[in-house]
């Protein structure tokens, strides 16, 4: 398993966070459902590179992110349409539109690949931001592992109100019965076109935020900060990202 730790931090990091990050690094560097391990680690690298892209800086300042037509500064040899997609999700997530989603698919990125790339961008963002927050450099990217994508697309996934197809809370099949537990939440459905990505991301959620039952149990606190303090932090970050979910 790839080694990721925070021994260089002056603040002790909970063991369950370290373990979740190690599992994430292992998953992302392995072949996914649609991308190889090499492609997935390049998506991680491109996510990091986007943070210093001059075109992304222009996008953030523009009245509309879609009026900036300069090429993004690619840090990998990923296809340009992948680079464009990754950079915009990193730079300006709050102003992504359904039209952007459709154009991205029209550029040649299948919906399955789209969801898998979104997941890797989100994993990398959450884990890199954690490192920045506690005052250590971003962790070394994992070396890509060999293997072929499974090409698994759940038969139950279909188009609903969200842009990307997903599995409805009451329509999951036997392969996904382990995942669809607890109260319905659209954010938990968001990645279910690629179920392993949904499972993986919510493994990180349970460590960095709270596990499902803990979110709803106000009879006790599970962290060194209260439920209210947790939600205050979450709400402020989401507001800064202009996220309305």
């Amino acid at each position: 398993m790839p080694d990721i730790h925070y021994d260089d931090s002056q603040y002790k990091v909970r063991d369950d966070i370290v373990a979740a990050h190690q599992r994430a690094w292992d998953r992302i560097s392995s072949a996914g459902c649609w991308l190889t391990g090499e492609e997935r680690t390049k998506v991680m690298a491109e996510t990091r590179h986007a943070r210093t892209c001059p075109t992304c800086a222009k996008v953030k300042e523009a009245l509309s992110p879609f009026t900036v037509t300069d090429a993004h500064d690619a840090g990998t040899d990923l296809p340009q349409n992948w680079v464009n997609m990754i950079h915009l999700i990193v730079a300006d997530p709050g102003r992504l539109t359904h039209s952007w989603y459709k154009k991205t698919l029209d550029s040649g990125i299948p919906d399955t690949h789209f969801v898998e790339i979104v997941s890797i961008v989100a994993h990398t963002t959450a884990i890199d931001t954690f490192a920045r927050g506690i005052g250590v450099p971003v962790r070394d990217l994992p070396a890509p592992q060999t293997g072929e994508p499974s090409n698994y697309r759940p038969a139950e996934a279909r188009q609903h109100q969200a842009w990307a197809p997903n599995i409805a809370w009451d329509e999951f099949g036997p392969n996904e019965a382990d995942y669809f537990v607890g109260p319905e939440a659209n954010i938990r459905r968001a990645l279910t076109l690629v179920p392993d990505e949904a499972r993986g991301f919510f493994d990180v959620v349970a460590a960095q935020y709270l596990a499902g039952p803990q979110m709803r149990d106000f009879s006790r606190e599970f962290r060194a900060i209260t439920h209210l303090q947790i939600e205050l932090l979450a709400a402020r970050v989401s507001a800064l990202n202009q996220c309305t979910y």
């Binding site: 909970r14 509309s64 992110p65 999700i89 997530p93 709050g94 102003r95 992504l96 539109t97 039209s99 952007w100 989603y101 969801v115 979104v118 997941s119 961008v121 989100a122 994993h123 990398t124 963002t125 959450a126 884990i127 931001t129 954690f130 920045r132 927050g133 506690i134 005052g135 109100q161 969200a162 990307a164 997903n166 939440a185 659209n186 954010i187 459905r189 968001a190 990645l191 991301f201 990180v204 959620v205 960095q208 935020y209 962290r223 060194a224 900060i225 209210l228 303090q229 947790i230 205050l232 932090l233 979450a234 402020r236 970050v237 989401s238 800064l240 990202n241 202009q242 996220c243 309305t244």
Partner: protein, 115 residues
């Protein structure tokens, strides 16, 4: 709880949540590029709330910096029950402006595609 700090940030003042002001500042500093600001915010939380609270606070802020991108890139809608239950809250916080802005961008894109 005073919700104005969710949109207004640290400048909006006391949130009514214990240590709310330094937590808001930490959340902002983590997403900012100013390393000195982040160091100051980090020390404030560590000194007043403890190292474990700092790590847990950073973990939450960082997680939402990732999960927001999932919601926004996949177009995940707010559940109708939550939307119905938070009409006043969302108005009070002022986050409806983000949805309005997105609708305007969508309309502009549609217009430009038609031309």
């Amino acid at each position: 709880m005073d919700y104005s700090a969710i949109i207004g940030g640290a400048a909006a003042g006391d949130t009514g949540v214990e240590h709310g002001v330094i937590l808001i500042e930490l959340a902002e500093a983590i997403l900012d590029t100013d390393d000195a600001r982040l160091e100051t915010a980090r020390l404030a939380v560590a000194e007043r709330m403890g190292a474990s609270a700092l790590v847990d606070s950073v973990a939450v802020a960082a997680l939402f910096n990732g999960i927001d991108r999932i919601a926004d890139a996949t177009g995940a809608p707010l559940e109708q029950t939550k939307a119905d239950a938070t009409v006043e809250l969302r108005s009070e916080i002022g986050i409806n402006v983000f949805g309005d802005q997105k609708e305007a961008l969508e309309a502009a894109e549609g217009k430009s595609a038609a031309e």
